[in-house]
């Protein structure tokens, strides 16, 4: 099967910042992403869990973008502007995709 190179960007970010991040992605011309829930975790600011939480102040989500390599820089700049001052982890990995025209 014909495969094409792409980048998989995973942005782990506070739930309260999700809308701001996706707006920034949109402005940078990114049109596709998926959001995964994160149940809990640990970092420099301690351990947390979503169990029994009512507010949106605690907790992260993962925003995942599959993107063509040449569009990566734009995305990263847009994302980083939002994530910069905030808790958040951004990773980029190489992947291969099938329908390249979609990204």
């Amino acid at each position: 099967m014909q495969m094409h190179k792409a980048k998989r960007v995973v942005i782990t970010i506070e739930a309260v910042m999700q809308r701001r991040l996706t707006e920034a992605l949109k402005s940078a011309g990114v049109t596709g992403w998926s959001i995964l829930p994160v149940m809990g975790g640990s970092g420099r600011s301690g351990e947390w869990s979503r169990e029994g939480q009512v507010g949106r102040g605690t907790g992260l989500v993962q925003v995942i973008c599959i993107i063509r390599p040449e569009r990566l820089d734009e995305l990263m700049e847009a994302a980083f502007a939002v994530v910069e001052k905030h808790i958040g982890v951004v990773t980029v990995a190489d992947v291969e995709v099938v329908r390249a025209e979609r990204f």
């Binding site: 910042m17 301690g46 029994g52 507010g55 102040g57 001052k85």
Partner: protein, 321 residues
């Protein structure tokens, strides 16, 4: 007063909270799913809002409504300044952290309010139905004060215009005021249709919700080492000071005994939903462990167990009610 406190401490709702607290401290794996906790909070907001609205439909709009709303808003603006001052004296936390904490204490905790209404109902004490609207009005102004306190320091808080929409239209305010409006429109007739949903099981749901709050407060207490002694003292002193202010304002406004108690409770309680979310967005450098732990693990338990009966007996004394 002591009898009242004992009565309160031995009520199912407080004991449910204590159960959750102990379970979390003992590191039991007891937990309530996030969706269920959110579902219960939606239920409680809807029920308390609706009943407030029905009460307004029944008794008509009190002349003092406008004045009480205004006073609530002013209290919410003013309390953070007071809180900030106290924190700077009592605790060694940073200016930013102190301002963020201060914002929480100007705003309100709706579940403390709900618990207080339930104590009032048990004691057969009536209160102004529109206090629910006052609660909603007091949620947001404190955030402005906190951000102003921060911007006076070095930092500039990040206030996208969006943040205001988010704060004013946050789910709990919208649901509380919306249900209030529905209750006011449909009145006693509407209430009859859904009373066996929003009235009868109310205290029971509140028990399970407080069990969950206990679990979260207990988990928070395990992190309490982020707080210095001064901060902990603040967490107990501040509600008493705020309640005293609330008492004064309530008496000036000529509220009923129940109304005075609720204004005291609103003043004394600290936000744990709306303000933390706003602070995460606007002041990410403030440490959330500090404000969440203070609000949830110190002030909330204090108000629930000792504060409410205390405020109630003082209010009864002062109003002769």
């Amino acid at each position: 007063m002591l009898a009242l406190a004992a009565d309160n401490l031995l009520s199912p709702i407080v004991l449910s909270f204590v159960l959750g607290l102990l379970a979390a401290l003992a590191r039991s794996d007891l937990s309530i799913p996030e969706a269920v906790a959110k579902g219960m909070s939606i239920y409680l907001l809807f029920a308390i809002g609706f009943k407030g609205g029905v009460s307004v439909a029944d008794h008509g709009l009190d002349l003092t409504l406008g004045m009480t709303l205004l006073s609530g808003i002013i209290l919410s603006f003013a309390l953070p300044i007071l809180a900030f001052g106290m924190l700077r004296v009592l605790s060694g936390m940073s200016r930013t952290d102190a301002a963020a904490v201060a914002g929480h204490y100007g705003s309100i905790s709706i579940v403390t309010f709900v618990a207080a209404t339930s104590v009032l109902s048990d004691a057969g004490i009536v209160f102004e139905g529109y206090m629910v609207a006052v609660a909603a009005a007091m949620e947001a102004p404190a955030i402005l004060s906190a951000l102003w306190l921060i911007s006076r320091g070095q930092g500039g808080a990040d206030m996208g215009g969006d943040l205001w929409r988010e704060i004013l239209l946050n789910g709990s305010i919208v649901l509380l005021l919306g249900a209030f409006a529905i209750g006011a429109i449909t009145g006693q007739e509407g209430l009859e249709k859904i009373a066996s949903f929003i009235v009868n099981p109310f205290q029971g749901v509140l028990c399970l919700f407080l069990l969950d709050m206990g679990l979260i407060a207990g988990r928070g207490l395990r992190e309490a080492r982020v707080l210095d002694r001064g901060a902990i003292a603040f967490g107990v002193l501040m509600p008493v000071v705020s309640a005293t202010l609330g008492l004064g304002v309530g008496l000036l406004l000529g509220l009923s005994t129940g109304g005075v108690v609720l204004l005291m409770v609103l003043s004394a309680s600290a936000s744990y939903i709306a303000v933390p979310a706003a602070m995460r967005v606007a002041v990410p450098e403030a440490n959330p462990s500090i404000y969440l732990t203070l609000s949830l693990a110190i002030t909330f338990p204090f108000n629930l167990t000792l504060g409410i009966p205390l405020y109630l007996s003082v209010a009864q004394m002062m109003t002769g009610g």
